[in-house]
């Protein structure tokens, strides 16, 4: 016969001992769970948000009637695209200037020195002998299946609903995986503190204009979406003297170079436009109409002046005000490739 007291003592003692262990375990689990939950929540918060435009920009949007009060009258969203008519591109050789698409882009976006978000490359050839070189403007191709977006480990580079690929420099960790992934070499890294006018560096960050630039982050052509959505055109199209750069909307099937309005699909199909490295499956949003500047009257036979591109931010910041500023002239230009550049 089992002694009830002994039994109660044994079971009671065991129960008491288990209860102590359980409480300890319980406390440990509480502490661990709280830590886990905190960090997981931090992950959700940090990763879950998308690119954030600054408050001033949103306020400005409301002023324009783009805010939520008035509301859009259509639920359809623009799908930005670009067509480069190579028949009209001579690299600005005829005008005797550096490529104005690049120069206007530099000016308009305060592109850090050495970077060319819109870069005009040339290919000399001898067919026929003495012929001017082929020139080809290369913006970011805003790929629909963008390798840069797919490899970004922190989601700092992303697609907008309109199809452009933007970079949130405040989230970018500078790993440069996107630079390695981009098959078009259209991304640039700020190795040093980027030089920009002081008032630009002091402005609030805007993910769409990528201002101000930040050290240790990646930058690239952004299609000037802030201007496109307001009905304007990107700076490169504004600067092109021959109207070679068309920007358009695949949704409404419309495009313009600022001088004429065309049906985008007609322009692409009628002129036999192609997409660069299309076989990679990146689905770029930029088409090229084959050509080599043959519609540009070539009478001056000047040199390709890409090396005269300017990033005159320091001159603009430091030059004193005066009614007869002479301008930095030829020696004011910076060499291509210096400072921050391709990763």
């Amino acid at each position: 016969m089992v002694d009830l007291r002994d039994h109660l003592d044994r079971t009671g003692g065991a129960t008491l001992d288990q209860r102590e262990l359980t409480r300890r375990r319980f406390l440990n689990r509480i502490v661990g769970g709280a830590a886990l939950g905190t960090l997981a929540g931090a992950g959700l918060g940090v990763w879950g948000g998308t690119a954030v435009a600054d408050e001033d920009h949103d306020a400005g949007a409301d002023e324009m009637g783009h805010g939520s009060e008035e509301g859009p009258t259509s639920t359809r969203v623009r799908r930005w695209a670009m067509v480069v008519d190579l028949r009209r591109c001579d690299g600005c050789v005829e005008n005797g200037t550096p490529p104005q698409c690049t120069q206007f882009c530099n000016w308009g976006r305060f592109v850090p020195e050495g970077q060319q978000w819109m870069e005009v490359v040339e290919q000399p050839h001898d067919d026929p002998p003495g012929a001017p070189p082929h020139t080809m403007p290369l913006p970011c191709f805003q790929c629909e299946n963008a390798p840069c977006v797919n490899v970004c480990p922190v989601g700092a580079t992303f697609h907008t609903p309109e199809g452009t690929v933007l970079i949130d420099q405040e989230r970018c960790i500078g790993c440069r995986l996107c630079i390695a992934a981009c098959p078009y070499d259209r991304r640039f890294f700020n190795w040093d503190e980027p030089v920009q006018p002081d008032w630009v560096q002091d402005s609030p960050y805007d993910v769409r204009t990528q201002t101000p630039a930040m050290r240790g982050t990646v930058m690239k052509c952004d299609f000037c979406t802030d201007r496109l959505e307001a009905g304007g055109l990107p700076f490169c199209a504004n600067g092109c003297p021959w109207g070679a750069l068309y920007f358009g909307d695949l949704e409404e099937d419309i495009a313009t170079n600022g001088r004429e309005i065309v049906k985008l699909s007609e322009l692409i199909h009628e002129q036999g436009a192609f997409r660069y490295k299309e076989e990679l499956g990146t689905e770029p949003r930029v088409w090229f109409i084959p050509g080599s500047g043959e519609t540009v009257p070539r009478t001056h036979h000047r040199e390709f002046m890409k090396d005269r591109l300017e990033w005159p931010w320091e001159e603009w910041s430091t030059e004193p005000a005066g009614p007869t500023a002479p301008g930095p002239a030829a020696d004011g230009h910076a060499e291509v490739g210096s400072g921050s550049e391709h990763g």
Partner: protein, 427 residues
């Protein structure tokens, strides 16, 4: 006598045969609509030499151009546009080029005709194209005959009511999954859940090896320092795994078409702070900030306006040798701003060279960007009227914002507008 009677009969037979021959020759010509389209009665044949006695400039006739459109169509649906080109007498004009166009707008200041397609008239004088209209509303449609040496140009217009508001262009992606991104979401969740389980097992192993964690050892003998050392590492591992896994899942679920997640447009845009650009907004909404209130006090050009322009005028205030100021507009002196700087005009001319189409930027108006200030015939500054001064309008504009990317502050814009309103004096 017989001979006399025969002779007229012979002549009649000869005349009749000639007439028959002519009729026989003319028969296929009459059957040929091309030939029938010749406006013989209306204008001399182009191949005939001009008669010196004829009127020197006789206006060619205007053909009848009729446009046959459906009253309405759906957004993005194929629509058939027909144009009928006839002479004034109703005969078809064959083989003539007809251009179909629609009125389109890119923005408030950039509107025009958008060519939808071209076609040649058939034997009935009909030209047909099949196209689609991707803008909702009453769309003005037109057809144009450019004219030739026999007929003057003709244009006819009509409208089609286009209804619908569905998104037409959806990016195609090779990463499209059968059920959207949920498969990918589940896969990643399974992988990271496994990681988390492994991390939990590591925690268990570490705890089992800690002296004092067994039931036989009392709580007081636990080496807390070793316990925390062994406890912190696995828990840290678990938290890292949990953070990365949950973050990655969130990215896949919420990011706009990141990692192949492209079918959640309506879902994620609600949380996006990046403003989307609906089709209806561009070209229909005001693009400018409101005109600031004009200051009562006198504003100094030298002391207040010029420093702003020199600091933030960019290439307009710091022209260089190889990159002239955009569109010839200089802001580095009072004379240049008011249009009295000859150097500015020289550079302006450099930007009005004929382009590939033989037209200049000045003749094209907008020229692709800003309403191009003084370089395109607009007054950069109209003293006393800031609302008509391109300098002020460019500062207020959103589409053509100057300075670019980073606008002037409200106070700076107010200063410049006030200076213009006060007469734009060189004070």
């Amino acid at each position: 006598m017989a001979d006399r009677r025969r002779r007229p009969t012979g002549r009649a037979c000869l005349g009749a045969s000639i007439l028959v021959t002519l009729l026989w020759l003319a028969a296929p010509a009459a059957a040929d609509p091309n030939h029938g389209a010749e406006p013989v009665e209306e204008t001399p044949s182009p191949s005939a030499p001009p008669s010196p006695s004829a009127a020197p400039t006789r206006e060619p006739p205007t053909p009848r151009l009729e446009l046959q459109l459906p009253a309405e169509t759906g957004l993005g649906e194929e629509v058939r546009l027909e144009a009928l080109l006839l002479t004034s007498r109703g005969r078809p004009l064959v083989g003539e080029r007809i251009t179909f166009f629609a009125e389109a707008a890119w923005s408030e200041d950039l509107r025009g005709e958008m060519v939808l397609g071209t076609a040649f008239t058939d034997e009935t004088g009909t030209a047909v194209i099949a196209t689609d209209l991707r803008t909702s509303g009453e769309i003005p449609i037109g057809a144009r005959f450019a004219g030739n040496e026999r007929f003057t140009p003709a244009t006819v217009t009509g409208t089609i009511a286009v209804t619908g508001d569905e998104q037409l262009y959806t990016p195609d992606t090779p990463l499209r999954l059968p059920s959207g991104a949920w498969w990918l979401l589940g896969l990643v969740a399974a992988v990271w859940g496994t990681y988390l389980l492994v991390a939990r097992q590591v925690l268990g192993v570490a705890r089992a090896g800690i002296p004092g964690s067994s039931a036989e050892t009392s709580a007081g003998r636990v080496d807390r320092r070793r316990f925390l050392g062994a406890f912190a590492l696995p828990v840290g591992l678990m938290t890292v795994v949990g953070s990365l896994g949950s973050g990655l899942l969130t990215v896949i679920a919420r990011s706009p078409r990141t990692h192949g997640n492209r079918d959640t447009h309506g879902w994620h845009t609600g949380s996006l702070r990046h403003r989307v650009t609906p089709v209806s907004l561009v070209g229909t909404h005001p693009e400018a900030r409101p005109m600031p209130e004009i200051l009562e006090r006198a504003v100094s050009f030298e002391g207040e306006i010029l420093p702003i322009l020199m600091l933030k005028g960019g290439p307009h205030s710091h022209p260089s040798e190889h990159s002239p100021p955009p569109h010839g507009v200089r802001l580095d002196s009072y004379a240049a701003i008011m249009g009295g700087d000859p150097e500015a005009h020289t550079e302006e001319e450099g930007h009005t060279e004929p382009d590939a189409h033989g037209e200049s930027e000045a003749s094209r108006g907008n020229g692709g960007g800003p309403p191009e200030e003084g370089a395109h015939g607009h007054s950069l500054v109209v003293p006393g009227k800031p609302e008509e001064s391109m300098l002020v309008l460019m500062l207020l504009s959103r589409a053509h914002q100057m300075p670019p990317s980073v606008p002037l502050t409200d106070e700076e814009i107010q200063l410049i507008a006030s200076w213009v309103a006060q007469g734009a004096r060189d004070n």
